[in-house]
């Protein structure tokens, strides 16, 4: 099967053709946002980090921004810096330039303030959009797709219907030569032994156990029962009792194929097949990790109704909750009929989500794209804000 995408110099294929407006630090967010809203064809990336971190977090933020710049859905990138932040805007620019795509930089403190930076940045963005517009969509095999999968605002229907259906979609894509990435390490707790059994090598199995232990240690160090934070109050109202129950339902969305590797947060995807990225389950941080890994489409299951997309990657919302599908039709793209886990209905739903994925990859706007919902993601950091 095939889709229509944009060829990139590094051999990857975009499903969108945006100019990314990447803020290096929270202090530059406003100017990056203004530029992105004034020039059609731009996708902003704003976040709360970039300064006053310990060294490991500076590395995470830098790696994440560089790899967001590499995302195939971006034809070019404008980096918006304040000037005095902890992370180096030049390192971000140099890192993105390695992809072969055009990259420019504006610095608020050097350009004489926000107004001058907005003017210069908008001019650069406009020129890059005009250049990108010369590129047309071409036909590519579905094996060029890297699909990100996520679940959010889950209830018990997520584990019974939407997640196994998306799992079937992942299996199809991997069997066709493509790749899938899932994660949300917190939501492996109680199910990590099942994932470890599916690891392609014993090193990958050990790594899965290790990332879950690391995440659990962080939660336990706070000295409280994690319940209420994970599963959330909403999950509990939706019938999920413990993190173990949530996890056992959550892992179904990754399908059943062998797990080839585990990525660190912000790391770029390389290889073929099914991969895990080590992240918490919260949307703003996790969607960023998928985009930095290089996914061109995300399928996002929800029970109670998570509305957000992501600025540079289309996000398809799938729900198995009939009430949510009815009441939140503004946000939901696909409904999966709830039934028995073993029913052929799940395989059929997996196929129809696959069809929707190809349509969206070829340019069909998702609900979140149509209403422009999802402009406030974030980057996950591990240390204190200093």
């Amino acid at each position: 099967m095939s889709f229509l995408g944009y060829p990139r110099r590094d051999g990857s294929v975009g499903t969108r053709n945006y100019i990314g407006i990447l803020s290096t630090v929270s202090c530059a967010n406003d100017v990056a946002w203004w530029i992105s809203q004034g020039v059609k064809g731009c996708a902003p990336f704003l976040h709360g980090g970039g300064c006053c971190h310990t060294k490991p977090d500076i590395e995470i933020v830098t790696r994440t921004l560089v790899n967001l710049g590499w995302n195939p859905n971006l034809a070019g990138v404008l980096v918006v810096s304040l000037g005095c932040e902890s992370i180096s805007a030049d390192s971000v620019v140099e890192g993105i330039a390695g992809s072969g795509k055009p990259v420019e930089k504006v610095v608020i403190q050097k350009m004489g303030g926000a107004a001058a930076t907005l003017k210069q940045g908008s001019r650069l963005a406009r020129d890059m959009v005009a250049e990108a517009a010369k590129l047309g969509r071409e036909k590519f095999e579905d094996s060029a797709l890297v699909l990100g999968v996520k679940c959010g605002a889950s209830d018990t229907t997520s584990g019974l219907a939407a997640n196994p259906a998306v799992g079937a979609t992942c299996d199809l894509l991997i069997d066709n030569g493509g790749s899938c990435i899932f994660g949300e390490t917190t939501e492996f707790m109680g199910a990590e032994h099942i994932l470890a059994r599916r690891a392609a090598t014993s090193q990958v199995a050990d790594k899965i156990i290790e990332i879950v232990a690391r995440m659990e240690k962080r939660a336990v160090a706070m000295g409280f029962d994690m319940r209420g934070g994970q599963p959330t109050a909403g999950n509990i109202a939706g019938g999920l009792t413990t993190i173990e129950e949530k996890s056992l339902g959550a892992i179904a969305k990754g399908g059943t194929r062998p797990i080839q590797g585990v990525y660190e947060y912000g790391e770029r995807h390389h290889g073929k097949g099914l991969f895990i990225v080590d992240t918490p389950g919260r949307e703003p941080e996790f969607l960023t990790a998928l985009a930095a890994a290089g996914v061109q489409v995300i399928v996002f299951t929800t029970g109670l109704g998570a509305p957000q997309g992501f600025p540079l990657v289309p996000v398809i919302k799938v729900t198995g909750n009939p009430n949510t599908y009815k009441q939140l039709s503004e946000h939901m793209d696909v409904f999966v009929e709830l039934g028995s886990k073993a029913e052929p209905g799940i395989a059929q739903a997996g196929k129809s989500i696959y069809g929707e994925m190809l349509a969206v990859a070829s340019g069909k706007p998702t609900k979140a794209e149509t209403i422009n919902y999802g402009n406030f993601p974030n980057i996950f950091t591990i240390g204190p804000v200093l």
């Binding site: 336990v220 000295g223 039934g339």
Partner: protein, 101 residues
């Protein structure tokens, strides 16, 4: 809307998930593996929530998807509502000794 009023995901499970809002006193017939169980509900079970298929003693595992989803914190009888009031998680427990496994 659904063919079944509740679902049991694995023959090893000791809980079922409601696929509709279920009334107290209602008797459900449920397929579990090759067998059919008749369960009389002792409480109202909201859509998506769980009830017990048999007696689960306090301290015993609660099983769904064929796996432990937590530990019963009270004696649970067949047909009882099963949720945070009578099941604790074994994971992420910074409040108790033991901590991360």
């Amino acid at each position: 809307m659904f063919k079944q009023k509740a679902i049991v995901l694995d023959p090893r499970d000791n809980v079922a998930t409601a696929l509709a809002d279920l009334k107290a006193g209602e008797t459900l017939r449920l397929g579990v593996g090759d067998k059919t169980l008749a369960i009389k509900l002792t409480a109202r079970i909201p859509f998506g929530h769980k009830f017990s298929l048999n007696n689960i003693d306090s301290g015993s595992p609660v099983i769904k998807y064929g796996e432990a989803i937590g530990i019963a914190t009270a004696d649970i009888r067949a047909g009882d509502y099963v949720h945070v009031h009578n099941v604790a998680s074994a994971r992420g427990r910074g409040d108790s000794t033991g901590g991360a496994r």
